[in-house]
Amino acid sequence: MGCGRIGAELAHLLDADGHKLTIIDVDNASFDKLPPDFSGMAFSGDATDEEVLRKAGMEQADAFVAVTRDDELNAMAAQIARQIFDVPRVLCRIYDPLREDFYSGLGLEAISPTRVFVRLLKERLEG
């Protein structure tokens, strides 16, 4: 979910690796970021809507990744994927590093880009 720069790039790479992929975004124009040879499905809609998710094939999904710019939206969609659709692996982007642990406790694989980037910067500086 989320066809921003991160979502589009991730979709592109997974698609190139041969995975079957559906990308969801509320904004149709966001799909312009996908490469012309993208062979997955682009699905326009709200990923907190169970019906939309069902139509997008969520019941068959092996993994769900929420990477919109909105922490709360990512957390809600990811929990729907995990708790309601029972998707085995659910990853979500949570900018607030303090909340990363909270959502991890709810069965999600929460990743804070803030924390990752800070670690990377620190390693570069010290290494």
Partner: protein, 220 residues
């Protein structure tokens, strides 16, 4: 009580005022600085400007000693996040979320937030009551008891027309507390009160029996 209100829009603002009038300690968390300023001008120094689902902001607002968190922003995902963190991370005893999209009531319940207020549903029921075009209106629900107060109209040729209340097979546990006849004062009915077409009844009934009640008064 110490109550934290998340969202300082019109609803949050009004709610804070009411809570303060009742003597409660209130903090409102609102991300928009303009809205914060507006509230503080009227209600004093009760605003914390920031994102209510950020841990640091919640901690700054003293969430660990809050008795209640009420999340009333216009974004359901924000209300969910604030309530989940309050309840599951900080053990706030009571959390209440506004929902703006009716389908989210079930989702919130599955994700551990049972106490929700569905704005669209509530407002539409009130508008329906004003139009007088609907046979049954849900006025108020006592959610944790599974009870509702409804206003039901005796439809044309319905099974109830011309019958005393005592002869109706009302669902078990339901009470008719008031009968409002056109052009007359409302009355507290007895078993002998005879119903006429167009009478309106205020009933207390369990939520699961609403369809049965509706069948008794349905136009046919």
């Amino acid at each position: 009580m110490y109550v934290i209100v998340v969202g300082g829009g019109d609803l949050g603002h009004y709610l804070c005022k009411q809570l303060l009038d009742e003597g409660h300690e209130v903090l409102v968390i609102e991300k928009d600085a303009g809205k914060c300023e507006h509230i503080e001008e009227e209600l004093g120094d009760i605003c914390l400007c920031g994102e209510a689902s950020e841990m640091a902001i919640l901690e700054k607002g003293g969430i660990s000693r809050a008795d209640m968190v009420i999340a009333v922003t216009g974004e359901d995902e924000d209300n969910l996040a604030a309530c989940q963190i309050a309840k599951q991370k900080f053990n706030v005893p009571r959390v209440i979320a506004r929902i703006n999209v009716p389908r989210n009531e079930k989702i919130f319940a599955k994700l551990g937030i049972e106490s929700v207020v569905d704005i669209v549903y509530l407002v539409s029921e009130h508008i329906k009551a004003e139009t007088m075009l609907f046979p049954l209106i849900r006025l108020f629900s006592i959610r944790d008891r599974g009870l509702e107060v409804v206003l039901v109209r005796v439809g044309k040729n319905s099974p109830a027309v011309g019958k005393p209340i005592g002869e109706l097979s009302l669902p078990l546990g339901s009470v008719v507390s008031s009968v409002i006849s056109h052009g007359e004062e409302s009355q507290i009915p007895t078993v002998n009160t005879v119903l006429r077409e167009g009478d309106q009844l205020i009933c207390l009934i369990s939520t699961e029996n609403i369809d049965l009640l509706q069948a008794i008064f349905k136009e046919s």
